[in-house]
C-alpha cells in the first residue's frame, strides 16, 4: 500500500514461520476473513453512505447523486465514479497531497468491481439521451488502516450504494430540473462481493491484515456477482501465482 510501514525482517520471518506451521499471526484460519461491521447511513446528509470496519481497517463511503453530462460515447447511460482517499490520520506514513499510484489503483479496482458487475443499471439513469444523465459518485475515505483496503472499500461502496435514494430530475428548457419531494431507489441488478488474497511464501491467505499485507509477495482481488460469475480481477505485487 501507500502505507508501506517499515516492518522489520523479524516480523516478516515470524509471519512466514507461523504460516509454515499452519497458523496466522492473529490466529485466523487461512481462509478466514476478519470481523466485518457495516453501519449504513452513517452520513445522513449524503444520498447514501456506509461506515465499514474490516478488522481494524475502517472506511467511510459517501454517495452523491447529481445531474451530469454523459460521456461522449455513452449518451444513453448514467455515470458512475468511484474514488478513494487515505485520510492522513489513517496511518503515520500517509502523506497529504494528491493520491499516489497505490491509492489510484485501489479506487480503480473498487470502481471496476462495481462497474463490471453491472450492480447499478446505468441505462435507467438517463435524464435526456446524449444531453443529461444522473451521476453517481462513490467517495471512499480511509479512516484507519490495517491492511486489505480493497475489500474494505468495496464493501463500503457496495453498502453505501444499497443505502442510497436518488432524487429525480426532468429536462425543463434544456436544464435538468429537480422534482421536489421525489426519492427513488437506485436500480440495482446484483450485489458484487470482492475477496482479496495474499501470497506469502507458498501460502495463500484471505483478507491479509496490515502486517501480513507488508509481507506479501503478491495479492489477488476477485469480485463475483450474485450469480457466482467472476466479474473483475486484479493481481498485484511483484510475485506470481500458479494456476491450480
Amino acid at each position: 500500500m501507500a502505507t508501506t510501514s517499515v516492518i522489520d525482517e523479524l516480523k516478516k520471518s515470524q509471519i512466514l514461520e507461523l504460516l509454515e506451521q499452519g497458523k496466522r499471526v492473529d490466529g485466523r484460519a487461512f481462509d478466514e476473513p476478519r470481523k466485518l461491521v457495516i453501519e449504513p447511513n452513517a452520513i445522513p446528509k449524503a444520498n447514501g453512505s456506509a461506515r465499514v470496519r474490516l478488522g481494524d481497517s475502517e472506511v467511510i463511503c459517501g454517495i452523491k447523486i447529481q445531474p451530469d453530462r454523459p460521456f461522449p460515447d455513452m449518451g444513453d447511460k448514467g455515470i458512475f465514479i468511484c474514488t478513494a482517499e487515505l485520510l492522513p490520520f489513517s496511518h503515520p506514513s500517509v502523506e497529504t497531497g494528491p493520491p499516489g499510484p497505490d491509492v489510484i489503483e485501489l479506487a480503480r479496482v473498487v470502481d471496476r468491481g462495481i462497474r463490471e458487475s453491472h450492480m447499478i443499471d446505468l441505462s435507467q439513469l438517463v435524464i435526456e439521451k446524449n444531453k443529461s444523465v444522473v451521476g453517481v459518485f462513490a467517495d471512499n475515505v480511509v479512516v484507519d488502516y490495517d491492511g486489505n483496503l480493497f475489500d474494505t472499500c468495496a464493501y463500503a461502496a457496495t453498502a453505501a450504494i444499497l443505502s442510497s435514494k436518488t432524487p429525480k430530475w426532468e429536462m425543463k428548457n434544456d436544464v435538468p430540473t429537480l422534482i421536489e419531494g421525489v426519492e427513488l431507489d437506485i436500480p440495482i441488478t446484483t450485489i458484487p462481493v470482492s475477496v482479496t488474497m495474499g501470497k506469502i511464501g507458498n501460502h495463500i491467505i484471505v483478507d491479509p491484515n496490515g502486517d501480513e499485507w507488508d509481507s506479501m509477495e503478491a495479492r489477488i482481488t476477485i469480485t463475483t456477482d450474485s450469480n457466482g460469475n467472476i466479474c473483475a480481477l486484479q493481481k498485484g505485487g511483484n510475485g506470481g501465482f500458479t494456476f491450480d
Binding site: G62, H91, P98, D139
Partner: protein, 244 residues
Amino acid sequence: MGGRDTEIVLLDENGIRCDGRKVDEPRRIMIKAGGLKNADGSAYIEFGDNKILVGVFGPRDVHPKHMSNTDTGILRVRYHMEPFSVTERKNPAPSRREIEISKVIKEALEPAIMLDKFPRTAVDVYIEVLQADGGTRCAALSAASVALADAGIPMRDMVAACAAGKAADTIILDVNNEEDQAGQADMPIGYMPSTDKITLLQLDGVLTPEEFKKCVETGIKGCKIVYELQKKALTDKYFGNGEK
C-alpha cells in the same frame, strides 16, 4: 451553499429560531476523545449536524527537513472536507477556503500548545469534516484541542470555540447553516478559558460596535459550554468506565 429561493423565518414572534432553539442556546453537542487506532490522539465531535473527526500525530520528525526549527516545535494543521460532506459534491482537492481555515485554526491552537518543549519536531493535526452544517471551523477547533490533549501533548489550556452572530436584528449564539446564509452576521470565536484569551476571531457581516461587544460576550458564553463538554470527553475516556 448558494442562494435558496424559499424564504425562512429566522426568528419567530416568541423568540424561537428556525431550528427550534432559543437565541442563547447552542445546538446539540457531543464530543468523544479517542476512537482512531493509528493516530497518537484523536477526537470526534457532533455539533448539530456537523460530524468531524480529528487525528493528531506527534511530536514527530519533520518532513521535509527544512521546515523544522531548532528553537521550537512546529504545528501543522490540515482542515479538509469530504466530497460527500456538503450538499453539492465537493472536489477532493483542497480549496482556498479550506487552506484559509487550516491557517486560522493553526494560529488559534498555537498559543495553547507548549511547542517550545519539542524543538526540531512537528505536531500534525488532521481535521476531516464528514458532514458539514455551518460552523465547522468552531467544531473542528474544539475537537482538535481534545485530540491534542488525547495525544498527551503539553498544553496551557484547551481552546473552545463557538460562533455568535446576528439574525433578524437579534444577537444569537451558535449560528447554523440557514442563519449563516440568510442572517446578518457570523462571528466564530475561539477562546482559552483559563487565560481568558481569544485565539480565533473572524467576522462575516455587519455589526455596530455595541452589537460587536454583545456578540463577543455571547460567543464566550458558548465557548464555556463547549469547554465543559471538552473536559467531560477527556474524563469520560480516562476516568470513566468506557474503553481504555
